[in-house]
């Protein structure tokens, strides 16, 4: 039983370490890391998917919650099992096991801290839960999936983003230092439990990765559980177990300080480089592209005949900040097109999901924010005149705050 427990612990540690190495990340300073798993295991993954599990997919990217991502983790678990079989019980391993696992815990703490710093600062800079796009704001609530609803709702509150972001940054900072690591592990576990629950509850496709981060937090917390149980449940005196030192006493302070600075510097560069480079410290205030916004159709004509409202091809359209034109018909159905704007010739160049291209003429009057579009549909020339909507004044984006309900009446 003891051997089995020791073996299981080794497997979990090895698996977590391999996952840290091979889960593709987007590291600016180590860009090759993203291709590492595909380069090393690409062939094996294809073999497992086609010959063992018999599933065929043309989408072979190892990214968040893709089938290949699950497969990669399965493969890493197999490697961890094999590796543990090889080392477990060997005298040499048993003499260094305690220190090796402590070393791995040190790596896990730093990795988890790094991820929490990234997510935390992303929230502080409003890069993660960004302000909802105009098309989202004018889509009926019930028509949206739970994931985009959650994402958009979070994007409406800057204060809540600050709160959750600061909490994640705090947990990360606590994890980075030995003295505060236990508190950091406790806080990180609480945060990650909530995130995993959100990802599963709102069907957000970061389920596996967030579960992996929770696993890391739990590995860090596990050595404390017994002491916490004694203290909090049995209400007896308990002391937390001492964490073996990763660096032995003879390890020069200069090397240790240099290594830690290198790691902290790397983390800082990865976290802050994007925002310093773009100068975008609050995405809500970032400049939006030309014509970005929501437009409500006031008048539609076909071959110079005015159309009744129910015959309009669409009632609103939106220009999305990532280069999309989105049409909303009278039944609130949406249709999106990739958009290029030729400002000189006054044309929209559109492409749909099936790569069908078309061109629309447009005329924008800035004085009254009128946007008129002309296009051909079923061989007939349409002309739609629309006015820009003040979407930033919608209730969802107003920074209202009320201490009392009486204030609402005023």
């Amino acid at each position: 039983m003891k051997y089995l427990r020791s073996y299981a612990a080794t497997v979990v540690y090895f698996f977590a370490f391999l996952a840290i190495l091979f889960i593709p990340g987007k590291l600016l300073l180590l860009p090759f890391q993203e291709k590492l798993a595909d380069g090393l295991f690409g062939g094996l993954l294809t073999f497992f998917s086609e010959s063992i599990f018999h599933f065929h997919t043309t989408y072979r990217e190892i990214s968040s919650d893709s089938a290949y991502f699950y497969l990669l983790l399965f493969l890493l678990l197999l490697f961890a099992l094999l590796l543990a079989v090889v080392v477990e019980g060997k005298t040499k391993w048993m003499t260094i096991r305690t220190r090796a696992l402590a070393g791995l815990r040190w790596i896990f703490a730093y990795y988890l801290a790094f991820q929490l710093l990234q997510y935390g600062f992303d929230k502080l800079f409003k890069g993660q839960f960004y302000m909802p796009e105009p098309n989202i704001l004018y889509t009926p609530f019930g028509q949206m999936g739970k994931d985009i609803l959650f994402w958009s709702t979070m994007g409406t509150s800057y204060v809540y983003n600050l709160f959750t972001g600061l909490l994640e940054v705090l947990a990360a900072l606590l994890l980075l230092f030995k003295k505060s690591r236990h508190v950091g592990a406790l806080l990180a576990t609480g945060i990650m439990v909530n995130i995993v629950a959100i990802n599963f509850g709102f069907d957000i496709s970061v389920k596996v990765y967030s579960s992996f981060l929770l696993l890391l937090a739990f590995i860090l917390l596990a050595p404390l559980l017994r002491s916490l149980y004694v203290l909090l449940v049995l209400r007896k005196q308990a002391s937390l177990p001492a964490e073996p030192s990763v660096f032995n006493r003879s390890f020069p302070l200069a090397y240790k300080a240099g290594l830690k600075t290198l790691i902290f510097g790397f983390m800082a560069a990865e976290v802050f480089f994007p925002v310093i480079y773009s100068g975008n410290f609050n995405d809500d205030l970032a400049e939006r592209p030309y014509l970005h916004g929501a437009y409500e159709v006031d008048l539609a004509t076909v071959e110079l005949d005015t159309l009744p409202k129910e015959a309009w091809p669409f009632k609103r359209f939106f220009i999305h900040r990532n280069g999309y034109l989105i049409l909303q018909d009278t039944r609130d159905q949406l249709k999106d097109y990739r958009l290029q704007i030729n400002q000189v010739s006054g044309q929209f160049h559109l492409m749909d999901d099936h790569q069908q291209r078309s061109k629309w003429s447009y005329d924008h009057r800035e004085a009254d924010s009128t946007l008129t579009v002309q296009f051909k549909m079923a061989g007939k020339p349409y002309r739609l005149q629309a006015r820009g909507l003040n979407w930033r004044q919608l209730p969802a984006l107003r920074s209202d705050f009320h201490w009392t309900i009486d204030a609402l009446a005023d």
């Binding site: 593709p24 990340g25 987007k26 600016l28 300073l29 989408y59 990214s63 968040s64 919650d65 990234q118 992303d122 890069g127 993660q128 960004y130 796009e133 098309n135 989202i136 999936g145 994931d147 994402w151 957000i204 496709s205 970061v206 990765y209 020069p252 302070l253 200069a254 240790k256 300080a257 240099g258 290594l259 600075t261 510097g265 560069a269 480089f273 994007p274 925002v275 480079y277 773009s278 975008n280 995405d283 400049e287 030309y290 939106f318 999305h320 990532n322 280069g323 999309y324 949406l334 999106d336 990739r338 958009l339 290029q340 704007i341 030729n342 000189v344 010739s345 999901d353 790569q355 291209r357």
Partner: protein, 214 residues
């Protein structure tokens, strides 16, 4: 000037920058339906790249230029591309340079039995199909289409055009270069580490000295 405004707007609207989100949320955020998601995924039409776990994206906008298309034979072609990066919507794209900081960084991919990039089709058709592809920043007319014959690159169509083969040097472009900036970041981090390390050594020595004195 007109050309500049035109090209700026052509380039600035379709971009790879997105806010932090998952691929599915990115797709839904611009009105994409779940039914179309698989199609967008398989055809790489999503405006979000790489592995995304809900984190913020690289602020550098990256565009791909198709520089040359080389037909090795009827079934095999080599696609030579280079990258352009730019910062934000309004900035001008700058070519990503290779390690020497002088020549563009070219990527060569060999494609087999590609339905569009094949010598089996007339060149005019190949060009039409390149123009229909949404993943390249440049029009088909600017792509050098060559045939590999006895180890030489032979232009397939317009012989008067200058032939740019992979690796040919071009004048270095000005502006911010991503790889250069990242190299500087590494240098700064390493310098910091060395400085702290030296300070620690000094502190250790002075501490030891004061202990001996005591």
């Amino acid at each position: 000037m007109k050309t500049k405004i035109l090209s700026l707007f052509f380039l600035s609207i379709i971009i790879l920058q997105v806010n932090a989100q998952t691929k599915l949320i990115a797709h839904k955020s611009h009105g994409g339906s779940e039914a179309d998601f698989q199609l967008a995924l398989e055809q790489h039409l999503l405006d979000i790249d790489g592995s995304n776990y809900g984190l913020a994206p690289d602020p550098l906008l990256v565009e791909v230029q198709l520089d040359s298309l080389i037909f090795v034979n009827d079934t095999t072609s080599i696609v030579v591309t280079s990258l352009f990066s730019k910062l934000g919507h309004e900035s001008e794209a700058v070519q990503v340079l290779s390690g020497d900081g002088q020549t563009p960084k070219f990527n060569r991919d060999t494609v087999y039995n590609h339905p569009d990039l094949t010598a089996k089709l007339p060149i005019s058709d190949v060009k039409k199909r390149i123009n229909l592809m949404s993943n390249y920043r440049n029009p088909a007319d600017s792509v050098k289409i060559l045939r590999l014959e006895h180890g030489n690159y032979v232009p397939v169509e317009d012989e008067e055009n200058e032939i740019i083969v992979p690796g040919a040097p071009v004048p270095p472009s000005g502006g911010i270069n991503q790889s250069l900036l990242l190299r500087w970041s590494w240098l700064v981090v390493l310098l910091m580490a060395v400085t702290v390390s030296l300070l620690a050594k000094h502190y250790e020595r002075s501490g030891a000295a004061s202990r001996i004195k005591a």
